[in-house]
């Protein structure tokens, strides 16, 4: 068979059968479900009634009728800020740990400690820390005299989202630090010697050497960060369940509530397609921002 296809044909055949298993898994558990959601978003359907085609009614309801959708959309974009925050903090920690510091490995392990923890556990313990009376944060703030009345973090409309973002940053910080740390350690030292010889100050070395060399790692962190903020269902669901009001309602929790909570799978499918479209746009923007060949350089 190989002689028939010639060198190029045999190459494509090899590529196809190497890619096949992975693509099969993604086809079964990502592409087909997305297709099912897209098909369902144009139907009116519940588990026991046959589907009827209703065109864009679901989307119409979503864009015009459902103000929770717009709140959840805005909250999701705000919640996405947990990615850059985590990346900036992780970069700072990675820079600190990167030098020949004694005990760097211990610091690294402690910061990474929170990542393998179950998200439900993170949500439960942070929900207690933010508690108005018995919580630790209020206890420390009052003991230091920084605040006279305890702050109701998860009960106030403007503090709830930052509190949830802080808990998310706490959990993903270790992961981003590890990615950036490996990026830092691969920068050849001679680049720094050359810059130091030219008398470049520390911040100049950082901007002209460290950041450009770290760009692929930063892109990897950005993509995973965006992904995490769109799928951190457990953290928000257990910590605030979208409350107070819909102040911390994310698209993903609203999809779960309308889908399984209210058995409206057709409407939840429309929300899913909307979220997927939004993510496509965001990834395309990140793709451009990182020099136009994200897929290549990640």
């Amino acid at each position: 068979m190989s002689t028939l296809l010639g060198r190029q044909g045999r190459q494509t055949a090899m590529v196809a059968c190497f890619l096949l298993p992975s693509l099969a898994v993604f086809l079964l558990y990502r592409i087909l479900p997305l297709g099912w959601n897209v098909w369902l978003s144009f139907q009116s359907w519940s588990p026991l009634h046959p589907a009827q085609f209703i065109g864009l009614d679901n989307y119409d309801e979503m864009l015009r009728d459902d103000d929770v959708f717009w709140t959840a959309l805005r909250n999701t974009l705000v919640f996405m800020s947990s990615a850059p925050i985590a990346i900036v903090l992780a970069l700072g920690i990675a820079l600190l740990v990167n030098s020949d510091l004694r005990g760097a490995a211990i610091y690294r392990t402690i910061v990474f400690l929170s990542y393998p923890l179950m998200t439900v556990a993170v949500a439960i313990i942070w929900r207690w820390m933010y508690d108005e009376r018995g919580g630790l944060i209020n206890f420390v703030l009052r003991r230091l005299g920084l605040v006279d009345k305890p702050l109701a973090f998860l009960q106030s409309f403007d503090l709830a989202m930052p509190s949830v973002i802080a808990a998310d940053v706490w959990q993903v910080l270790g992961f981003h630090m590890i990615i950036l740390l490996t990026g830092l350690q691969s920068i050849p030292p001679h680049l720094y010697e050359a810059a130091r010889v030219d008398g470049a100050p520390a911040w100049a070395r950082f901007w002209r050497i460290t950041v450009p060399m770290l760009r692929p790692s930063l892109f990897l962190c950005a993509v995973i960060g965006i992904l995490n903020s769109f799928s951190s269902f457990d953290l928000v669901y257990v910590m605030t369940n979208g409350g107070p009001g819909h102040a911390t309602e994310l698209l993903i929790t609203w999809i779960y509530k309308t889908g399984f909570g209210q058995s409206r799978f057709d409407y939840a499918a429309a929300l899913t397609v909307a979220q997927f479209a939004l993510l496509l746009v965001l990834t395309f923007l990140a793709h451009l921002a990182s020099g136009g060949n994200a897929g290549e350089r990640a």
């Binding site: 898994v25 030098s99 439900v120 207690w128 820390m129």
Partner: protein, 270 residues
């Protein structure tokens, strides 16, 4: 970075470590005492700590059986990840028509949130006849797109001369991958091991939907036993959380050295 005196660096790191460790300390402390954490003022030191909450957790849920299920599913996921991701990544390093489209397809596959795929994924697994089975539990996690890109970058970092020499010796693609590329990308393998282990070990929603037989459940599903309405299971709940955490941590500590070099090789040369 010239060492401008280690002192400020240690101070900053100690603050960071405090912030990271305090919630942990409370989880472990409550697992030892089982006290009401909403009591005011919060007590810093544990009152009459004892390890018996861990014994309770061992007997309250069929812990050994859940642990066995979790280990098997995670081993399947880790093994699947290494093989499938390496094959896919190797294919992506070769030029073929439509390569950019496959890369974009993979990137977009990453963007589909799991919660939205539960029902179709269940229907597909049912048709495959893999319900209530270890393979059915591990199948969606057999390949992860992020890890494919990690492997791809690591393979591209290997100098082409090595690959061409191997091809000259008449090695097929599979043997080039196994004999030349993978031994040189052990760090990328470590990255795959840690990420796929932690993601499959902590997976909660998929096992909940796919398993009907309680004996097929994985460890995280034991959590429900400690969130019961009727009993005060605070101590046991936190002990359970610590026991679920330990394996994930152990895998990280074991693979930490390679884990760090792995992403490096990929990140810069890509």
């Amino acid at each position: 970075m010239r060492a401008r005196g280690m002192w400020p660096r240690h101070a900053a790191l100690l603050v960071v470590c405090a912030i990271m460790l305090v919630p942990f300390y409370w989880v472990v402390k409550t697992s030892l005492t089982g006290e009401n954490i909403y009591a005011y003022p919060p007590r810093l030191l544990p009152q009459a700590p004892h390890l018996f909450n861990y014994v309770d957790v061992w007997y309250l849920i069929p812990f050994p059986r859940y642990l066995l299920n979790s280990v098997i599913v995670s081993l399947l996921a880790v093994g699947g990840n290494i093989v499938l991701n390496a094959l896919a990544a190797y294919a992506l390093t070769r030029a073929f028509p439509g390569r950019r489209w496959v890369v974009l397809l993979l990137l977009s596959c990453m963007l589909i949130p799991f919660q939205a795929t539960i029902i179709p994924a269940y229907l597909i697994t049912a048709r495959l006849g893999l319900l209530n089975s270890w393979l059915g539990l591990a199948l969606p996690m057999l390949s992860t797109i992020v890890c494919i890109f990690v492997f791809k970058a690591a393979f591209e970092a290997v100098p082409r001369s090595l690959i061409d020499a191997a091809r000259m010796d008449g090695l097929g693609d599979l043997r080039i991958l196994a004999r030349v590329l993978l031994p040189l990308c052990k760090p990328a393998i470590a990255t795959n091991v840690i990420l796929s282990f932690i993601w499959s070990w902590n997976n909660f929603m998929w096992p909940l939907i796919v398993t009907r037989d309680p004996l097929m459940q994985t460890l995280p599903l034991g959590l429900a036993r400690f969130l019961s309405y009727v009993e005060d299971t605070t101590g046991a709940l936190y002990a359970f959380v610590v026991m679920v955490l330990v394996p994930g941590l152990a895998v990280f500590l074991m693979a930490q050295k390679e884990f760090m070099r792995g992403l490096t090789a990929g990140a810069t040369k890509g």
